[in-house]
């Protein structure tokens, strides 16, 4: 199906925009929970916007890849960003607080949901937060925190360290917490 021309997100000035504020959509999570959200907030997700435009929504939009807990968080984010009169500074502050308390597992859920729903701002924020937690951490820390099994033999690992000696010289050992 051919895509219609889209307005840049959040910059609608046409009378359509007013309608979007009052119209509500229902989003359904993988575990069957339903959430109401204004259309103007929902279409900050490019994926939802496409579903609405292609009119395959039919009232309830099923999101089979997002569970209820994660969807509730995502909706909090969308509502804030669609809020009238919220200044950029306020939104920045909100974003900061929104991700700062999240555990790593929650961050992964949110990053996947944001990726699937195509919400650029949220995606950037969560990726940055995950990266911040990884900064200056040892390989062992990364494996432990992210639940990754090493599939290298100790010999292979030694070999790689030799091969990439230039990446292991001159810097203090990593700081783990």
């Amino acid at each position: 199906m051919a895509r219609k021309n889209r307005n840049p997100v959040g910059k609608n000035v046409d009378p359509e925009a007013q309608k979007k504020k009052t119209r509500t959509l229902t989003l359904k999570s993988s575990d069957g929970q339903e959430f109401s959200i204004s259309e103007s907030a929902a279409v900050l997700s490019i994926a939802i916007e496409n579903m609405v435009e292609d009119d395959c929504a039919g009232g309830v939009i099923p999101l089979p890849l997002v569970d209820g807990g994660t969807l509730a968080r995502v909706i909090t984010y969308l509502n804030k960003h669609a809020e009238d009169g919220a200044s950029d500074e306020e939104k920045r502050k909100f974003d900061e607080e929104f991700v700062s308390g999240m555990e790593m597992g929650v961050l992964f859920d949110v990053v996947l949901a944001a990726n699937y729903l195509d919400i650029r701002g949220l995606l950037r924020e969560v990726r940055r937060r995950i990266a911040d937690r990884m900064k200056n951490k040892s390989v062992e820390w990364v494996r432990k925190t992210f639940h990754i099994e090493s599939d290298f033999t100790p010999e292979e690992e030694e070999q790689m360290k030799k091969e990439f000696a230039w990446a292991w010289e001159g810097v203090d050992s990593d700081v783990d917490d």
């Binding site: 993988s30 597992g105 992964f108 990446a167």
Partner: protein, 444 residues
């Protein structure tokens, strides 16, 4: 869904996460598992920061060599078919002769790989000098950035920190149309060079000049420029230094502790918003001459405004020659934000300034400082007279309910004509934000 391992994330997401890390961390992450082994080779954003490298007991020269080796190897071994989007280098460059060829080759690699964001910083005093640093030269020079490097490149955003821009007289001016934003900080540049850079970047929309050295006369002539930021530049002598702007599409300008002897604008017809932070160093040399450029704006924010008599008289004189009547000098101004301490002298200045902006609709008073002295009796017996026939709204930020603030509210109410609302936003206390207070509402 409940993801428990980062390994369940798609590769594209992992790459994006690694892009936010310094290159050192991203490369080291190759040891995590087989899947991670080659991820770093495909990262489109590379950040090389030498400050990660220095541990004080080791000589600086050694850290520099390790760092240089790391950058070179990373660039050599990365997957060259992966486009490079952003390249950031933070390099302590006191000993430039030994590494200048390598630095040049890194920058050339980045540009040849289609880099869009290029950020180069050669901080001078990144580290405390250790005693073993014997190779430091007294005649330390800045890194020479030849502007011709980025001719016909894809660089759209260029940031230079602590270097010198080289632009030979014979250099042709074409081929710089990719540049949209330019940040220069602690950069040495000659008058002629700045003028050439600005006029050759024919699509330049954003220009920021901060702590520029060597320069005396800013000549900024640009058809495309939309935003201009001039920061931390001050010539005390009254007879040198000038700012000459021709920017018919400029809509926003920021002056932050910037002052020259002479201002000249040829066309600022699109300017709607201006921000001015005046010098605040206790000298009486506050010059408000910069305001003569800003008479056409709709939104104006002023910080540390302190008009001395000379500056004030000057402004009145300029306004009078440009406009038929002094009282309408800022006739387009609808929004005015002032950062103030609510000191008595400030209130008189504000009252005098408001005389010049009869169209003002919104006034924001942003309180700062801890000054809680009671108002002088002499002030109360002869308070300033505010004149604002069109003022509809007053917002008070960082409101603390001091005697002075309350007095100002009373003064504002006294002179209201069409005033509809005064709202106060209390100052944050212990990280808690309190709800806004409506101090006056004409509809009630």
């Amino acid at each position: 869904m409940a993801v428990t391992s980062i390994d369940e994330l798609p590769e594209a997401l992992l790459l994006h996460i690694l892009s936010f890390l310094p290159a050192l961390n991203a490369v080291r992450a190759s040891l995590v598992s087989r899947r991670w082994r080659n991820l770093w080779r495909h990262i489109p954003i590379l950040e090389f920061d030498m400050s990660l490298y220095h541990s004080p007991p080791n000589p600086l020269s050694e850290s520099r060599d390790f760092f240089a080796e790391f950058v070179t190897q990373t660039l050599l071994l990365r997957e060259h078919s992966t486009p490079l989007y952003s390249f950031r280098l933070v390099f302590n460059h006191r000993d430039f002769r030994r590494t200048v060829t390598r630095v040049n080759s890194w920058i050339r690699y980045a540009i040849a790989s289609g880099v869009v964001f290029l950020l180069l910083s050669f901080e001078e005093d990144l580290f405390v000098k250790s005693e073993e640093d014997t190779d430091e030269d007294e005649t330390w020079q800045k890194y020479d950035f030849h502007f011709s490097y980025i001719r016909d490149s894809t660089v759209s955003h260029l940031e230079l920190d602590n270097c010198r821009i080289v632009w030979p007289k014979s250099l042709a001016c074409d081929g710089f149309s990719s540049i949209r934003s330019l940040y220069l900080c602690h950069v040495s540049v000659r008058d002629r060079v700045l003028c050439s850079v600005v006029s050759s970047c024919v699509n330049l929309e954003f220009l920021s000049l901060s702590c520029i050295s060597y320069l005396r006369n800013f000549k900024i002539h640009s058809q495309s420029l939309k935003e201009l930021e001039l920061e931390l530049f001050n010539i005390r002598r009254k007879d040198v230094g000038s700012l000459d702007i021709y920017a018919p599409n400029l809509h926003r300008i920021i002056f932050d502790r910037f002052s020259v002897a002479e201002y000249c604008s040829r066309d600022l017809s699109s300017l709607v918003e201006a921000n001015v932070v005046f010098l605040d160093d206790g000298h009486e040399d506050f010059n408000c001459e910069v305001l003569q450029l800003l008479t056409g704006v709709k939104r104006l924010t002023l910080m540390h405004m302190r008009f001395d008599r000379h500056g004030w008289d000057y402004l009145i004189k300029v306004s009078a020659t440009k406009h038929t009547s002094v009282s309408s000098a800022f006739k387009s101004l609808k929004f005015l934000e002032l950062k103030i301490e609510y000191a008595e002298y400030e209130l008189f200045e504000i009252a005098a300034f408001l005389e010049l902006c009869p169209g003002l609709e919104t006034l924001v008073l942003d309180g700062y400082g801890e000054n809680d002295f009671p108002l002088l009796e002499s002030f109360k017996s002869k308070p300033p007279i505010f004149h604002f026939p069109n003022l509809k709204q007053v917002k008070m930020r960082n409101y603390r309910r001091t005697e002075k603030e309350l007095y100002v509210v009373e003064l504002l109410k006294l002179h209201m004509v069409v005033l509809q609302k005064i709202v106060a936003f209390p100052r944050e206390a212990n990280g808690e934000t309190s709800a806004p207070l409506v101090l006056f509402d004409s509809s009630q």
